[in-house]
Amino acid sequence: MTSANSLFGPLDPAPDAGYVDAPKRKGFFTDTSVCIGCKACEVACKEWNDVPENLYEMLGTSYDNSHSLNANQWRHVAFIEQPAGRSSVGLPPTISDAPGRDSVDLGMPTLGAAPTEVPEDEKPDFRWLMSSDVCKHCTHAACLDVCPTGSLFRSEFGTVVVQDDICNGCGYCVAACPYGVIDRRRGPEGDPKVGIAQKCTLCYDRLKDDQRPACAQACPTESILYGDVEELRERASARVATLHEQGVMDARLYGNDPDDGVGGTGAMFLLLDEPEVYGLPPDPVVTTKDLPQMFRRAGMAGTAMLAGAALAFLRRTP
């Protein structure tokens, strides 16, 4: 029986997905106030997970040359150059207009902006924000909800993981993700996972042996913390309180609220500006929120979807 909140609202995802005696839910807390933008997380992730190169092109978006999260980039460090006190609303480029295209105006006013003479005596209170983005491992993960093959699954740790051996590359998950995280691998040629949906697994294999995810292990400044989500939420709240006490009133949390549109995320963030500034959607909602209603109103549609799933599965059988 489907519980009323399996697709929306607060919940502990692993027991909901049928795990008995599941370990505590695991996740990340990325504290961007101590991120030094070194990209160790990007590299450590690639080394551990055999993620191939993404692109060799300077993008001109400060020191970010990885562009965004995609199948070849499971951690992505954003760099935002910003004079403080100046509202800096920038929307991230989407993957469809990725590299190779003409330079995109990212709306980051300090980069490549029309040159202006800095008044001699005025000292700009400049900020350089850095933030390592990653799959959110949503409580209500639309990618997982729409996956017709069962390739995407909820792990015993409450994380959302792709099973490479099952994915048939249908791409439903790509459109479903409210954060634009999951993506099918496009290259390089010869890579065994080309065509397969790929994203952060929260190092599922390492977790099974009680090891920390590669990015969290490498992070030099503990900007990326790994642990029990419940405890991380408390730490995140405490950290915001500390920063507020120190006068950093911009500090805020992102993804820590179980009542938000995705039921809270397994990967939460401490940001120093609006989420949009970092290329994060301000109010993400799980795209399958209304699925139960749809089931009730049109049971046939649901059946058809399952049938589609069965077909999709069968297509993989040699």
């Binding site: 933008g37 590299v43 001109g60 040359n65 490549g112 902006a113």
Partner: protein, 894 residues
């Protein structure tokens, strides 16, 4: 620090979490600035003015840690009244010889020590031929030698005597007011005073401040004096030898500290023993006395044992007391044989063969064109590296092949590229930046023909010895008598091509008793009678008790924060040098918070969290008997045990070529005249004036400012490693910073019409390099001497090879060197910046020469180095007492 040493930076973040205030002084806003409380942009090359300003602030406001200063530094020492400071001499100190552009430092000495009778022989030598000291980078020896001053100079501990160091220093820096700092450095008085306040308030009994620098300080024509200025400040504030204090040189290569300790440097032998000099070290006793400096305090008094142990390690049984332990086998240096001199010699056809071992000078050294033209004029070149680097392929794809200056069919250099073993394919020790040795285990065999350097050089030596076997030529004795017998292991051992045992080499470095083979527990056991041998005295103890101490890996969770059982630090596993200074003169911790090493009255010995850097049983109350020297002369209140007087040097009467106190000089290439003196740049700097090494003009030259109006500097990116051999060929790094770029401020972009992400090129008298434009407010124009100066920044990681390629920034620099250590000025120069790509092919040379011609430097018509007034030059020369005993030498390479 966050940029180039991110993992080291975790400790800064840790301190920040605990309430520390982080200040970052840097020409541009970097990833370090992003996490600092305060970023202070500064004009490149003006650091002595900035630090001098803080020193002045401390002295004028009496903010020094007086008890520390009086007892542990030479503040009370009385300087000779013949000494004259720069203010009266237009930027020169007394004793300047315009012919050689060096000083006779006789007048710099402490009072009563400038009479011949009071000086030791070595000291007299040292004080004498500074031209020779400059050529042989003698400053590097002083890194461990300390100053060779007498042990008991006259003192005034009230610090009131007008010629005491404290007062001399106070006068010297009196001109470095906040206004002057603002004028020279482009730092606002508000920012500057904030730094002064933070630094001084965080120093004293209860608190300490750490100073961290890197090649942003060393790569200047006044680089050593930058660091001296930092040292003076840290001594005045009582931050040396104490936990949380000190000066940290953050070094940039895995074992660059080790390669200085066990040097591959022309002027040094292991343990900072000098390479013998033909002029002054023709015998063993000359050489040893040159180090030992009879009459001074300190542990160099045992230099005889250190030197003889090295000779025994080199020549084993052949080295006997009768033949002076084969001292004669050591080749002698006669001047400057540094890497830049050598490269120019290559261009001049004086060098036949060149080895490059894990080094890519075609990209990494200053004046890349000179580097490559030098390589193209050799008989043979051996390159040992992991990848096919630019220094191995210059003959086919260097920029000079594009310009037609190197034609492959006409280039005679024979090139051998040997694949090298990586760090996981061999065992051995690295010495990291805090002098700690860590042993690496071998994980796997190297692929294919890749081999370790140990293998390569061992077998090269073996084969040469085999070829020469039976030679009766006397010159071959040093090779044939060499102790070159190391156990081999691995599969190839049976065929004679095995891997030499790195442990056996480390044991030889540590030293052992010749008769029994018992490994020494430390350099204290080294004898000067040939009964012990040891290859590097400061590393003695790394194999104490027959255990490889560098391989210790006791978890940090199971030991104190000092972590004495992780690896091994020289000397004698001391983690913090001169830590006697962490206790007060009576031997008690300065404060509970800062307790580190102290005198235990009950046990009558020094104890604490670290190995005391002091004789364990010598009480704080110990006073040296009259006439003592060496170790016995070190008193209970002399923490700086390697210095000739046991005191920290606020003033350095010896050992520095360019003056006893740091003074502000402009960089060799600067758009500004020296605000303080007629003397523009470091008058003693090493220059090689020749047509292939043009320098951008002095700002005094008419029109100079129009041709090269901007200042540029360079540094590393987190994502790359130095000359790129270990990052441009690695997918996961290359993609993170895939292209060469040039950072400019929005204002400069507007002035020069540079478009964000468009192309631009940067031009100097040496070359022009191109890159993408990154317009960013992380760089901003500064206001200096009443006008705006634009600073341009570039990373220097690219060359034509690798997964990502681009122009090499180091091609822009010429060669001018610090006179103390012969390190090049490659952190500052002047340039022009233009939109669009640079010309290619032969047109590039024409373009660059056009600039040089317009600047008036095409045919080495650069202005004079000595720009102090003629009157000042005369008075400086006259200030030295008596005739110059050293006749000036004519050298083309002044």
């Amino acid at each position: 620090m966050a940029e180039a040493h991110p993992v080291g930076f975790q400790w800064v973040m840790e301190a920040k979490k605990r309430g520390a205030r982080i200040i970052h002084v840097d020409p541009r806003f970097t990833r370090t600035s992003a996490l600092a409380h305060q970023h202070v942009p500064i004009r490149v090359g003006s650091d002595i003015a900035f630090l001098g300003g803080i020193i002045n602030h401390v002295l004028q406001n009496e903010l020094d840690f007086r008890e520390y200063v009086v007892n542990y530094t030479n503040a009370a020492n009385i300087v000779s009244d013949k000494f004259e400071d720069v203010d009266g001499l237009d930027g020169l100190f007394s004793g300047f010889d315009p012919e050689t552009r060096t000083y006779d430092p006789t007048s710099w000495q402490f009072a009563q020590e400038d009479q011949d009778g009071e000086l030791g022989q070595a000291q007299a030598d040292d004080a004498g031929d500074t031209a020779e000291q400059r050529d042989t980078a003698a400053g590097m020896q002083n890194e461990a030698h300390g100053m060779q001053v007498g042990s008991h100079p006259p003192r005034d501990e009230t610090l009131q005597h007008p010629m005491c160091v404290f007062q001399v220093l106070k006068r010297h820096y009196a001109r470095y007011t906040p206004e002057v700092v603002e004028q020279i450095c482009g730092v606002s008085q508000e920012d500057f005073l904030e730094v002064c306040r933070a630094w001084t308030e965080n120093s004293g009994r209860e608190r300490t401040t750490a100073l961290v620098y890197s090649v942003g300080w060393t790569q200047h024509s006044v680089g050593v004096q930058y660091i001296r200025a930092g040292a003076i400040l840290q001594l005045l504030l009582g931050n040396m030898g104490r936990p949380g204090g000190g000066i940290m040189a953050l070094r940039g290569h895995a074992s660059i500290q080790g390669s200085t300790d066990i040097p591959t440097l022309f002027n040094l032998l292991p343990g900072y023993l000098p390479m013998p000099n033909a002029a002054s070290h023709q015998t063993l006793s000359d050489w040893i006395d040159g180090v030992r400096n009879p009459g001074s305090k300190g542990f160099w008094a045992n230099a005889g044992a250190y030197g003889i142990n090295l000779l025994k390690a080199y020549w084993g049984d052949a080295a006997t007391a009768e033949n002076d332990y084969c001292f004669d086998y050591l080749p002698k240096i006669t001047g400057d044989h540094g890497t830049y001199r050598t490269v120019l010699d290559m261009i001049d056809g004086k060098v036949q063969g060149y080895f490059l071992v894990g080094q890519n000078p075609a990209v990494g050294s200053a004046h890349g064109r000179a580097q490559r033209l030098g390589m193209a004029n050799l008989d043979w070149l051996v390159v040992r590296d992991l990848f096919e680097i630019e220094s191995a392929t210059f003959w086919k794809d260097s920029p000079e092949v594009q310009t037609g200056e190197i034609v492959p069919e006409e280039c005679r250099t024979e090139v051998f590229l040997f694949p090298a073993a990586s760090h996981v394919e061999k065992e051995g020790t690295f010495t990291q930046t805090q002098r700690m040795l860590q042993w690496r285990e071998k994980a796997v065999e190297p692929p294919g023909d890749a081999r370790s350097e140990l293998w390569f050089f061992y077998h090269l030596g073996r084969m040469m010895r085999e070829s020469l076997a039976g030679s009766s030529d006397e010159r071959d004795r040093p090779l044939l008598d060499l102790a070159w017998d190391y156990p081999l292991h691995g599969e190839a051992a049976s065929s004679g091509w095995g891997e030499p045992s790195a442990e056996a080499v480390l044991k030889e470095i540590n030293g052992y008793e010749v008769a029994t083979g018992r490994l020494l527990s430390g350099f204290g056991e080294m004898k000067d009678d040939g009964s012990t041998l040891g290859g590097c005295w400061i590393y003695s103890g790394v194999y104490a008790d027959g255990v490889n101490q560098a391989a210790r890996r006791k978890s940090r969770h199971e030991q104190s924060e000092v972590a004495p059982e992780w690896g091994w630090a020289w000397p004698m596993n001391r983690r913090l040098l001169y830590n006697r200074a962490s206790a007060d003169p009576q031997g008690r911790p300065w404060s509970e918070r800062k307790a580190y090493v102290w005198w235990d009255e009950d046990a009558q010995e020094w104890t604490g969290h670290d190995v005391p850097d002091f004789e364990k049983k010598k009480p704080p109350s110990y006073r040296a008997p009259e006439g003592s020297d060496g170790v016995a002369a070190i008193e209970g209140i002399d923490p700086f045990i390697m210095q000739g007087d046991g005191k920290g040097a606020l003033y350095a009467p010896q050992g520095l070529i360019d003056g006893p106190m740091p003074t502000h000089y402009e960089p060799v290439e600067s758009p500004f005249r020296n605000l303080l003196h007629g003397q523009q740049g470091n008058p003693t700097r090493k220059e090689y004036r020749r047509s292939d090494n043009p320098l951008n003009p002095d700002p005094r030259e008419p029109g100079a400012a129009e041709v090269f109006p901007f200042v540029f500097t360079t540094s590393r990116l987190t994502e790359h490693h130095t000359a790129g051999a270990m990052s441009r060929y690695v997918e996961h790094l290359a993609e993170l910073q895939p292209e060469m770029f040039v950072e400019v401020s929005p204002a400069l972009a507007a002035e020069r019409g540079l478009e964000h992400m468009g192309w631009c090129h940067v031009i100097t008298a040496r070359s022009a390099v191109e890159g993408k434009v990154l317009v960013t407010e992380r760089l901003r124009p500064l206001r200096v001497e009443g006008r705006t100066v634009h600073q341009v920044w570039m990373p220097y990681h690219w060359g034509q090879g690798g997964l990502v390629s681009g122009d090499s920034t180091n091609d822009l620099f010429g060669i001018s060197l610090d006179p103390n250590v012969l390190i090049q000025e490659s952190k500052v120069g002047t340039c022009d910046v233009r939109p669009g790509r640079r010309p290619t092919g032969p047109a590039l040379r024409e373009y660059v020469e056009g600039y040089a011609r317009r600047a008036g430097v095409l045919d080495h018509e650069e202005g004079p180095v000595v720009t102090a007034s003629a009157d000042a030059q005369q008075r400086s020369a006259a200030a030295q007492d008596g005739a110059d005993q050293h006749s000036p030498q004519q050298r083309e390479d002044q």
